[in-house]
């Protein structure tokens, strides 16, 4: 938090002069008709993105010279706040004169940067980056329409942070490559989560399909599983381990794959004893917290724990609740 964030203020104070000017008098607001296209000897493209029910909707008009694939002129219409209007207007500015394949490369970051009064100061507050994303998305729609392909063809990855255009694959890669443990580290490495923060965790100002906290937890769990498998490859088979090593191996698997599941329901478990016989390795466990009175402790939960330990360590393991 800190001193500068304790007192909320008007988000309007954080708009650049360029944003304000374009909000008050957008230069490219309007529409083109088929007649306009004929007169310009160009192909008319009309692309929509968003919906009034979502709070933002933009329509982009392009007049494209089919001989050169160049956007000769463009206009927009927008249902949205002032920054949505300003972003759309700037986006149109950036499109005019470009080839369609070049226009597709315009990102929301380019739009936001173009609206800055000086290169060091953001043009809009973090929560308004969302509005420039709309401009980015509608370009993809228009280009896809012109080329007769699907807009998804421009997106070969799932975008987690729309503000910074960071994909799921990139985030997973940086976690693995740099052994990251916190969301703050992910933000430092990728800028994901640095702007509107909606992708950090549930409950932000916009609902998301993917959140950094979940991606981090899942990737860390995957890494832990891989580490365990690797350990098992190098070490002795589970059956040949000492009881201490067996206990450690069991605890590692439980930490990586079981405990979080139990703790999310207010419960937990502990290993009491390990007893070996000719056929089985019996792992005696005791449930804790909410799990101790839970009926599935001797049913579905027990089978799930047993299956995980059998799969990860040894098919001879049996789990016995006490």
């Amino acid at each position: 938090m800190g001193k500068n964030n304790l007192i909320g203020g008007s988000i309007w104070d954080e708009y650049s002069q360029k944003v304000q000017d374009r909000m008050n008098a957008p230069r490219h607001m309007g529409e083109f008709t088929e007649d306009d296209a004929k007169k310009a000897d160009a192909k008319l493209i009309v692309a929509d993105f968003g919906a009034e029910s979502c709070g933002d909707a933009v329509r982009l008009y392009w007049l494209v010279d089919e001989k050169t694939d160049t956007i000769k002129d463009a206009k927009f219409k927008s249902f949205g706040c002032g920054t949505a209007i300003a972003s759309s207007d700037t986006m149109v500015d950036l499109c005019i004169g470009k080839k369609v394949d070049e226009a597709v490369k315009i990102t929301n970051l380019d739009v936001e940067f173009a609206m800055r009064d000086n290169p060091e100061t953001p043009a809009v507050p973090p929560q308004k980056m969302h509005c420039s994303v709309m401009a980015y998305d509608v370009i993809k729609q228009a280009a896809a329409q012109y080329k007769g392909i699907s807009p998804e063809d421009f997106e070969d990855q799932i975008i987690v942070c729309e503000c910074a255009r960071v994909s799921l694959g990139t985030i997973k890669d940086v976690i693995r490559l740099n052994d990251l443990h916190t969301v703050e580290e992910i933000t430092q490495y990728t800028k994901a989560g640095a702007f509107c923060k909606s992708c950090v965790k549930p409950g932000g100002h916009e609902k998301k399909d993917y959140y950094l906290v979940d991606i981090l937890a899942e990737t860390r769990a995957e890494m832990e599983r891989e580490r365990l498998k690797e350990m098992n490859k190098e070490d002795l088979a589970f059956e040949e381990m000492t009881m201490v090593k067996q206990l450690k191996a069991i605890e590692s698997v439980l930490d990586a794959e079981v405990r979080a599941m139990l703790q999310s329901d207010g419960g937990d478990m502990e290993v009491i004893d390990i007893q070996k016989s000719a056929e089985n390795i019996d792992v005696y466990i005791r449930y804790l917290g909410a799990c101790s009175g839970c009926s599935s402790g001797s049913g579905a939960t027990l089978y799930a724990i047993e299956n995980i330990l059998q799969e990860e360590l040894s098919p001879r393991i049996r789990v016995m609740p006490v």
Binding site: I11, W12, E52, G55, D56, K77, S78, F79, G80, C81
Partner: protein, 392 residues
């Protein structure tokens, strides 16, 4: 021209209340709880201010009106203390609130939910109101507290508080009302309404910001939110802010003396503004006029996003408000519009206009002109509205 139409957010301090509070900053600064003459000088003013509050709310002398910093504090006090006094280690474990409460209530209820309390939301109808029948369907012997606002902060709709309090008492629960938007706008008679607890803030009725109160009916047990002294009979510690309390008492007295003016003059101006908005095509206003506090309009102007409208109005000197997502850090649509089941595409087009007795006819005429102008400009830009300049 500058026109302030955001009086449900906060109001201008009444000049008379302002004048009355001034001596208590420099001349009469004694702690009213002190024994010396400096203390007694402020003590008498404090007593007079409390008399005005009791008279203004029509409370019995046997009840308590505790001074707090604002309604949010009062509301939090109610919820947290109800948990300690009436839920923890008791058989009652439910709290009922309406689906359109101010976040001070809904967030306090969510806090109790984290502690294991069951929170039940009363549904609201298309006018944004919950009825006594709705309450009957969900209340039970498990209910510890029912909290329903007296008047809604966005729509201005007035809830059937008296009937709800009666039903609540039949089930042995406590009834609290967030009266923040009702005090100073409609007649308040706490002796008659059967309310156990009522919260209010001075700055909503032309008093100062940072002072409010909690009405506690005689006999209602409530653990203090603030411990540490014997102020307010030990119910709310902290040295009393005498100038603000003096101004709050005076502001309430003046507001109550102006209720008839509010219900005639302000209502007429409000209705004039509302009628003008409704002459624009594809506009709606939430809730029946007669059952609304006289100063409030929650309009929806199709094709015009709320914050964009605020921007245009602000450029032309008019202060209004919107629950629209883009105006805040939360991009979700206006929760009131959603709760009343408004079409999704209206949820981002909400515009709240709230008047006060300081608004003039000329200001309203100017606001009408500017709203029309902004609507035309923004609809001409709008990608979702087929704007027809001939359709006026």
């Amino acid at each position: 021209m500058k026109v302030y139409l955001d009086n449900n957010a906060t109001t201008m301090l009444d000049p008379c209340a302002y004048e009355l509070m001034l001596p208590f900053f420099k001349e009469h600064y004694g702690n009213p709880n002190s024994l010396h003459a400096f203390g007694s000088a402020t003590h008498s003013a404090l007593k007079e201010a409390m008399d005005k509050l009791y008279a203004g709310l029509n409370a019995s002398d046997l009840d308590d009106i505790i001074i707090t910093s604002c309604a949010t504090e009062s509301i939090n006090w109610v919820f947290k203390s109800v948990y300690f006094d009436h839920i923890l280690d008791k058989e009652r474990n439910e709290v009922i609130i309406s689906g359109v409460e101010h976040p001070a209530v809904s967030a306090a209820a969510m806090f109790l939910k984290q502690l294991g309390v069951k929170v039940i939301d009363l549904p609201v109808n298309s006018e944004g109101l919950s009825t006594a029948e709705d309450l009957k369907k969900v209340i039970s012997d498990k209910t510890a507290l029912v909290s329903v606002m007296w008047a809604n902060n966005e729509t201005g709709m007035i809830f059937p508080i008296k009937e709800m309090a009666e039903i609540t008492h039949e089930f042995g629960a406590l009834f609290h009302t967030d009266a923040t938007q009702a005090v100073g706008k409609i007649k308040i008679n706490l002796k008659d309404e059967g309310i156990d607890l009522a919260s209010f803030s001075a700055h909503k009725f032309h008093g100062p910001k940072g002072v409010g109160g909690l009405f506690i009916k005689k006999g209602v047990k409530l653990t203090p939110l603030l411990h540490g002294g014997e102020h307010m009979g030990g119910r709310r510690s902290g040295t009393l802010n005498v100038p603000f309390i003096v101004a709050m008492g005076e502001a309430l007295k003046i507001a109550n003396s102006m209720l008839e003016f509010e219900d005639s003059h302000i209502r007429r101006l409000r209705d004039k503004l509302e009628d003008a908005i409704l002459t624009l095509p594809d506009t709606t206003v939430v809730g029946n006029r007669q059952n609304r506090v006289p100063n409030t309009i929650l309009a929806s102007i199709k094709g015009v996003e709320g914050e964009a409208m605020l921007w245009d109005l602000n450029q032309n000197g008019i202060a209004a408000s919107t629950g629209s997502a883009c105006a805040s850090e939360d991009l979700e649509s206006n929760p009131i519009m959603e709760a009343i089941g408004a079409e999704n595409d209206l949820a981002h087009t909400a515009l709240r206009l709230s008047l006060s007795r300081f608004n003039t006819e000329a200001e309203i005429d100017y606001a009408i002109e500017q709203i029309k102008k902004a609507t035309e400009r923004l609809r001409s830009i709008s990608s979702t509205y087929a704007y027809n300049p001939n359709q006026r």
